[in-house]
Symmetry: C2
């Protein structure tokens, strides 16, 4: 969610599309759809702290000690996954993980979730049980409880949609819009690993032969939502804008910049790429910038807090890396190596609704 999380079509995850040609009556591009929905249908109310336009919505509940967040995210067969590439437990895990990642991106604690599932009549019973097993196992790890759902027949493959309700930490939700020029940009974990895993699957490699291949496949099939990091950041107050990386750094960073009214510069030599993917023909920079589904956190930290953050950050959590900063200029730039000139960084995630 939230109308900023258009999933990448896996086969085209890293395709760069620059020419946008639209038919008059065709759909708007994603950002325009979001803008229209927000303007026309975004409800304003005292009880809505943040509505359409962030990873999750943030609401006030009368009497509650915290803000609460609500998010929804969906996976459709042959758009977001292939059943021959992903086992039921892995898919159950992933379906919840992509939602928990949205909750993590608000700095909130996931509490409850519901799942709407449409399945073909032929689906074997063990598959269905495995799906729930994978989902519930991940949920338990993060203290999120399955409280209900809806089950339906489908004529054309599996359709999965979840909604997760979470609780803020210290009555504080980290939005995309809080960044200021000069803020340092950090990410958790590694960028481009999931896309490298997808490349392996597209090449027919179901099981990795090397530890790197296995890591990449696992990152793609069973991403780890960064719930603990998100809550830690919300609790400690070091950062002032956050989101998760679902559609590739270049596209997601643009969203943070647009919401915050800034530009950004990203340093290639400081970015936590996954260079071992070269072994199977990937370009780690392209995947790190434009590959989707990392489900890592991207957050902006005022420079005065950077040292405190880096020294207080628990070593047991996934590493964090400073990759650049927000700028007053509204452009997004990319410096491949420290002695090179900045280049424009185009948001190259795949947009479903562009022709």
């Amino acid at each position: 969610m939230t109308y900023c999380g258009l999933r990448i079509e896996k086969k085209s995850a890293i395709r760069i599309r620059r020419s946008v040609k639209r038919e008059k009556d065709a759909l708007l591009a994603e950002s325009e759809i979001v803008s229209v929905l927000r303007k026309r249908f975004g409800g304003e109310s005292f009880s809505v702290v943040k509505g359409i336009g962030d990873d999750a919505a943030v609401i006030r509940i009368p009497g509650a000690t915290q803000y609460w967040v609500l998010t929804t995210d969906q996976l459709h067969e042959n758009v977001h996954f292939r059943r021959e590439w992903t086992g039921p437990k892995q898919l159950g895990h992933k379906a919840l993980a992509v939602n928990l990642s949205d909750v993590a991106a608000m700095g909130a604690r996931p509490r409850f979730y519901v799942v709407a599932l449409a399945i073909p009549r032929s689906l074997p019973r063990p598959w269905l049980i495995g799906f729930y097993e994978g989902m519930v196992r991940l949920g338990r790890k993060h203290q999120a409880i399955l409280i209900g759902g809806d089950l339906s027949h489908s004529k054309d493959g599996l359709h999965i949609s979840l909604a997760v309700l979470g609780e803020s930490v210290r009555r504080n939700a980290l939005l995309r819009c809080g960044g200021k020029p000069g803020d340092f940009l950090y990410v958790t974990g590694t960028l481009g690993k999931s896309a490298a895993g997808l490349r392996l699957l597209q090449a027919g490699a179901q099981t990795g032969k090397t530890p790197s291949e296995r890591q990449a496949l696992k990152a793609h099939r069973e991403p780890e939502p960064r719930c603990q990091v998100g809550m830690w950041l919300a609790r400690h107050g070091f950062c002032r804008a956050m989101m998760d990386l679902s559609d590739g750094l270049s596209l997601d960073l643009l969203r943070m910049c647009q919401e915050s009214g800034t530009g950004a510069v990203v340093h290639g030599d400081r970015s936590p790429l996954f260079p071992r993917s070269r072994a199977w023909g990937c370009d780690p920079i392209e995947l790190g910038l434009h590959g989707g589904e990392d489900y890592e956190l991207l957050f902006a930290v005022p420079p005065r807090h950077a040292l405190s953050l880096e020294s207080a950050y628990p070593a047991k959590y996934p590493k964090i890396t400073r990759i650049g900063m927000l700028t007053r200029s509204l452009h997004m730039k990319w410096i491949p190596e420290s002695n090179m000139r900045p280049r424009p960084l185009a948001p190259c995630g795949f947009d479903h609704f562009r022709s």
Copy 2:
């Protein structure tokens, strides 16, 4: 929701399937799936008042003055609707209505909702806007606010999934399981009108020629969730079990009976059927008992409260009708006319997962 709301496949909405033949490895029938999910994956926690197995889940939120309910429900093209039969505004209305109906069935007030939508690339822009217009218009009528969602490309038609968060009235949620033998059974509105509308659509009638046809088409395309009635009932404490009728009275009543540990007897001559559907070849009794998607409320009232309920019930609300009672015997029975002997009432909603 909640794993008890398997939607009826429209073309087969009123088919009666008695012979159940299963392959060993095939899926379980619906009630068995629900039972397995509930046993294996239903999380127990102080914060969960009611988890898997009701119209919506009921949760405690720290500090909140009320219980909160969360529900999800989905509509898939050519399973739950056809685009050539339903306009975008109507579909947006219906997608929210089926979810609000679940909230109403708990006696709760809908507050916030999110929508996950997967759409074909070719979908015209006005269609999308119309869909949201229909949805938001109904939401405003019931003070429910659209706070976010997720938008994705689909390769095979429209897939819609909503989640609604609601607030209980007087810290009281009306569950399916509260009924006792001897309780009177009531329903709101008319039974079988939506199924009669579906019959018209199946026969190629897009617009009704008579007021009755138009009523039936509207009941099918734009059902009115009974939010006000649900809240009124929760506030006044007359009834002790409630659910909505989404899959036909016979199937839904069975669910209430199973949860409450009772049987039931239903009087045909007292049931609020839609006899005018005879004009286009329908059997009002069959549609009233087994036709789905009425989205009326079914509720159980202790006999000592029946008179108070009937005299206090506001005339401006949709009429309520006493159709029978819960019984100690676990069977479901049907008395066509007052001087006739009871007949077994078989739950004849269509089960997606039976072969």
